[in-house]
Subunit: 181 residues, 2 copies
Amino acid sequence: MLRSEVKRAQARTAELFAKAGIVLTAEESDRIEVACFGLGQLETQGLELITYVNTDRYCAKDLVLFPRQTCPEHIHPPVNGEPGKMETFRCRWGSVMLYVEGEASPNIQAIVPARSAASYTVFHEIVLLPGEQYTIPPGTKHWFQGGPDGAIVSEFSSTSRDEFDIFTDPDIVRMPVILED
Amino acid sequence: MLRSEVKRAQARTAELFAKAGIVLTAEESDRIEVACFGLGQLETQGLELITYVNTDRYCAKDLVLFPRQTCPEHIHPPVNGEPGKMETFRCRWGSVMLYVEGEASPNIQAIVPARSAASYTVFHEIVLLPGEQYTIPPGTKHWFQGGPDGAIVSEFSSTSRDEFDIFTDPDIVRMPVILED
């Protein structure tokens, strides 16, 4: 991803936060993380987030999904003998469709990203509107997509160790290099 | 505290959340916790909160302080061999003055509640405006007060075990009985 794309996505994310009444400091706005997963199609498969705190006991982030943007399927494995990350997603604005292991829901609302369709394997659907939340147990494959207006989702969790996440799509690189343009 | 007082404080809290664009479900609005600490002066010493999630690994709440309302000084002790609760306060709306152990700040902005003045002993001041946050290490005495407009504060933390909190004021009862009126 080019630095200019990162900057554009950061600005769009900051606008969405402002629209939802979520205030960031200038320092935080500058370090909004733009995850393109090395796939080169941020609008389709990507995620924007701000990490407020990540200690050895807990973590809190606010996530942004642009309209129909998908965070690809992944799992949080155990690390250093600790169970995998446990996370609670709370929809703050917009809507988000979440998919976890379990009985596949008929006629899911999300559009599976065509390029990586084979790497989406769990289809038990939970739709979250503002004020609604869902806790994903450790060791559960999951993916999620923003609704037609996008979404802002608070993520409360145990310690975050993103570098250990296992994605179903083998083409994914969680921390790709950002190229100066 | 009377049931009718609880209901009034819940309604006022729900209004403040709405004003700040924070959406609760109807079920959540009905279980907003109103803590009067058994002191019978909720407006001066009290706290309103909604707990979103509290697992054996992490906890997330949104706290409301009415204008100049104070959450009295307390400490989170170790429980079952685990270090005391660690918590991050993030101001979302209004302003909050937080006091922790350390060098006393000259001319603090808070008004120490007169009735319990002797039970406020730490005066290192941190003022948080929207977007600003502070992490309180385990085993640190602290108290906090809403600014002139009150405050909404997100609390991200390790597991919450409020019943073990130790308050400096011996008159405080963390979980007083609610009387039907």
